[in-house]
C-alpha cells in the first residue's frame, strides 16, 4: 500500500502483494496450522490406553487409534504450514524494511546539525568563562598585587589553549 517500493524489479516472490497482504496470508496459514495441531493432539490423547505396536493402527482413521508414524507425518504438515507462514512474514519484513535508508539519512543529518549547534553553544559558554578569567586578571592588576597575577594568568592561558584545541577547523559557510 503506502510502502509500495519504487523498484519494479524486486526479488520478492510475489511482487504485487503488499506487506499487509502477505501478513494476512501468513496469519491464515498459521491459523490452519493451529487447527491441525489441536486436532492432532486430540487424536493422540484419544488413543486407546494400552497403545498397540505402531504398525497395528497405521491404516486407521485419525480418530481411532493413531500410530506414532501417522502423528509424525501429520505434524510434518503442520510444520510445513508454519514454515510457509514464516517465509511470508520474512517477505513482508523485507518489503517493510526496504527504502528506509533515505529516512535514516535525514535523521542522521539532523543529528549532526544538533551536534554543531551544541558545539557552538559550548563555545559561547567558553567565552563566558574567558570573560570571568579576564575580570579576575583585571582585578588582580587593579589591586596592584603582582603575587596574585600568577593563578589568573595561568588559568587564562589554559583556557585559551582549550579553546584552540576544541574549536573545529573553521566552519564551512
Amino acid at each position: 500500500m503506502s510502502t509500495a517500493p519504487a523498484n519494479p524489479a524486486q526479488p520478492a516472490p510475489n511482487p504485487a502483494a503488499s506487506p499487509l497482504d502477505l501478513e494476512a496470508l501468513a496469519d491464515s496459514l498459521s491459523a490452519c496450522a493451529d487447527i491441525l495441531h489441536a486436532r492432532l493432539m486430540r487424536a493422540i490423547h484419544q488413543r486407546p490406553p494400552a497403545a498397540p505396536a505402531p504398525a497395528a493402527a497405521a491404516a486407521g482413521s485419525i480418530d481411532h487409534g493413531l500410530s506414532q508414524g501417522t502423528a509424525q507425518a501429520l505434524f510434518e504438515n503442520e510444520v510445513a504450514l508454519r514454515q510457509r507462514a514464516n517465509g511470508l512474514y520474512l517477505d513482508a519484513a523485507e518489503l517493510a524494511g526496504r527504502g528506509l535508508g533515505g529516512q535514516q539519512q535525514v535523521l542522521l543529518d539532523l543529528a549532526a546539525q544538533a551536534q554543531d549547534q551544541i558545539r557552538r553553544v559550548n563555545r559561547i559558554k567558553d567565552m563566558a568563562s574567558l570573560l570571568a578569567d579576564l575580570l579576575a586578571l583585571g582585578a588582580a592588576v587593579a589591586a596592584g598585587k603582582p603575587e596574585h597575577l600568577g593563578p589568573p594568568v595561568e588559568k587564562l592561558r589554559r583556557h585559551l589553549a582549550d579553546l584552540q584545541a576544541g574549536a573545529p577547523p573553521s566552519v564551512a559557510p
Binding site: E23, S30, A33, D34, L40, M41, I44, H45, R47, A51, Q68, Q72, F75, E76, E78, V79, A80, R82, Q83, A85, N86, Y89, L90, A92, A93, E94, A96, G97, L100, Q103, Q104, Q105, V106, L107, L108, L110, A111, Q113, A114, Q115, Q117, I118, V121, I124, K125, A128, S129, L131, A132, D133, L135, A136, G138, A139, A140, A143, K145, H148, P151, P152
Partner: protein, 263 residues
C-alpha cells in the same frame, strides 16, 4: 571604578533582551523533548529482538525433520541478509533523539560553573579590586545572557529539528513496529514447532522402558514453555514502549509553533 557601571549597563541590556525573547511555551516543550529523548534507549530492545529473529533457525534446528530443515535452511539465508539491514534501523532514531535531548538540555545553557569560578577566584584575594557586588553583577549578567541569548535560540533550533525530523521519525517508528509484529508472529510459529515436537512425541513414550525419556521430555517442554512465555512478554513490552515513543513524539509535534519563515 568603571567596572560596576559597565556591568550594570550590560546587565540591563541582557534583561531587556531576555524579556523580549523568552517564550512561555518553550520551557514545557523543551522538557517534553528531554522526556522523549530519555526513552530512546528502549529501542535497544528492538535490536535485541531483531537478533533473536535472526537466530530462529539455530533454535529450531534440533527439532526439525530432515525435510523441514532443508526449507528452514533456505529461509535462514534470506533472514540473515534481511536482518543485516533491519538490525540497525533504530540507530538513526536514537542518534537523532539523543542529540535533540542534549540540545534541549536544561543544564546546557547554564553558566553557573562560570559564575562559581569567578566567585571562588574573588574569595581567594580578599583585598583585590573585585568584591561580592561585582560577582553578583557578573552572575546576573551571565545568567541573563545564558537565558536570553540561548533559550530563544535553543527552542527555535529544537523546534526546527523536530519539524524536519517528523516524517522520517514516524516512518521509521512505524517500520519498527511493523517488523516487531512480524518477529512476534514468527516467534509464535517457532514456539509451536518446538513445543509441538515435544507435545506430539511425549505421549508415545508411555511404556515403562521409556519412562526416563518421558520425564526428560516433559522437563524440556516446561523449560521451553517458560522461555517462549518470557519472549512473548518481551515482545509485548517492546511494542508498548515503541507505541508510547510514537505517541509522545506525535504529541510533541502538536505543540510546535507554526513554522515562520526565519532568516
Amino acid at each position: 571604578m568603571r567596572l560596576p557601571r559597565l556591568l550594570v549597563c550590560l546587565g540591563l541590556c541582557a534583561l531587556l533582551a531576555a524579556c523580549a525573547t523568552t517564550g512561555n511555551e518553550a520551557g514545557p516543550r523543551l522538557q517534553a523533548v528531554r522526556a522523549l529523548a530519555a526513552q530512546a534507549y528502549r529501542l535497544d530492545n528492538y535490536a535485541e529482538l531483531t537478533e533473536r529473529y535472526r537466530n530462529t533457525y539455530q533454535r529450531e534446528k534440533p527439532f526439525l525433520s530432515a525435510q523441514a530443515e532443508v526449507g528452514e535452511h533456505l529461509l535462514d539465508a534470506r533472514r540473515q541478509a534481511a536482518c543485516d539491514d533491519l538490525v540497525t534501523l533504530h540507530r538513526a532514531v536514537q542518534a537523532y533523539l539523543y542529540l535533540l535531548g542534549r540540545l534541549a538540555g536544561d543544564e546546557h545553557y547554564d553558566v553557573e560553573d562560570q559564575v562559581k569560578g569567578l566567585s571562588s577566584a574573588i574569595k581567594a584575594w580578599p583585598d583585590s579590586g573585585l568584591d561580592e557586588r561585582h560577582v553578583n553583577a557578573y552572575a546576573g549578567l551571565s545568567r541573563l545572557l545564558g537565558r536570553a541569548l540561548a533559550q530563544g535560540d535553543q527552542d527555535r533550533s529544537v523546534q526546527a529539528l523536530l519539524r524536519e525530523g517528523a516524517a522520517p521519525m514516524q516512518t521509521l517508528l512505524d517500520a519498527m513496529r511493523t517488523l516487531l509484529r512480524y518477529y512476534a508472529k514468527t516467534n509464535s510459529n517457532e514456539a509451536r514447532i518446538v513445543l509441538g515436537v515435544l507435545e506430539v512425541e511425549i505421549p508415545f513414550a508411555d511404556t515403562p522402558r521409556d519412562r526416563l525419556l518421558a520425564v526428560l521430555g516433559k522437563e524440556r517442554l516446561q523449560a521451553k514453555q517458560a522461555e517462549y512465555r518470557l519472549i512473548g512478554r518481551r515482545h509485548t513490552l517492546t511494542e508498548r514502549s515503541l507505541d508510547e515513543l510514537a505517541r509522545q513524539h506525535l504529541e510533541l509535534l502538536t505543540r510546535l509553533e507554526p513554522a515562520h519563515p526565519h532568516p
